[in-house]
Amino acid sequence: AQSVAQPEDQVNVAEGNPLTVKCTYSVSGNPYLFWYVQYPNRGLQFLLKYITGDNLVKGSYGFEAEFNKSQTSFHLKKPSALVSDSALYFCAVRPFGYSSASKIIFGSGTRLSIRP
């Protein structure tokens, strides 16, 4: 079965320190990979995506993610965390790339908490 795993329910980081939110996936083919962020009482907002090319992709708010095909991982990173980064983060995968029949699968989410 196709799946996305976010092994950490919560990640706690001090402001100014680097952060990593982990994601691994199990899908066939060459998937599209995404990170979304959700602030309280809001919908999910797109952060960044990997389609093809450079394994390190950059997105909104200074976030970046590293695609590792051999480890089937797509970890979210930021060099220096801000308190305002505190939110719920979802990793998502679109199997088979961009196809009208290909629906996105979401991980269970990781709550990121940045302490001042």
Binding site: R42, L44, Q45, K49, I51, R94, Y98, S100, I104
Partner: protein, 111 residues
């Protein structure tokens, strides 16, 4: 979120009553989706539509039905609400970035 709105934003209803949630888009997208969000489960697909009057089931469709009579509107109906359907419901359309653009959500409480 630009181009996609959900209504109502909050609703409290009693067990056994029917409930309809509305998703409206102004982007003329063919595909629309309904998800529910629950702690520990992330987002799970309920139903989706690939055109007017064309819909299909997702992974958690039991107890839900949908209708799409116009491109811009996708309705989710809980035929007889149960407490297990207390959740936050999100509508989504295909976004410019090959992923989805989400509405702001509807928080439904079944008492």
């Amino acid at each position: 979120d630009a181009g996609i709105t959900q209504s109502p934003r909050h609703k409290v209803t009693e067990t056994g009553t029917p409930v309809t949630l509305r998703c409206h888009q102004t982007e003329n997208h063919r595909y629309m989706y309904w998800y529910r969000q629950d702690p520990g489960h992330g987002l799970r697909l309920i139903h989706y539509s690939y055109g007017v009057k064309d819909t299909d089931k997702g992974e958690v469709s039991d107890g839900y039905s949908v209708s799409r009579s116009k491109t811009e509107d996708f309705l989710l109906t809980l035929e007889s609400a149960t407490s297990s359907q207390t959740s936050v419901y999100f509508c989504a359309i295909t976004g410019d970035h090959y992923g989805y653009t989400f509405g702001s959500g509807t928080r439904l409480t079944v008492v």
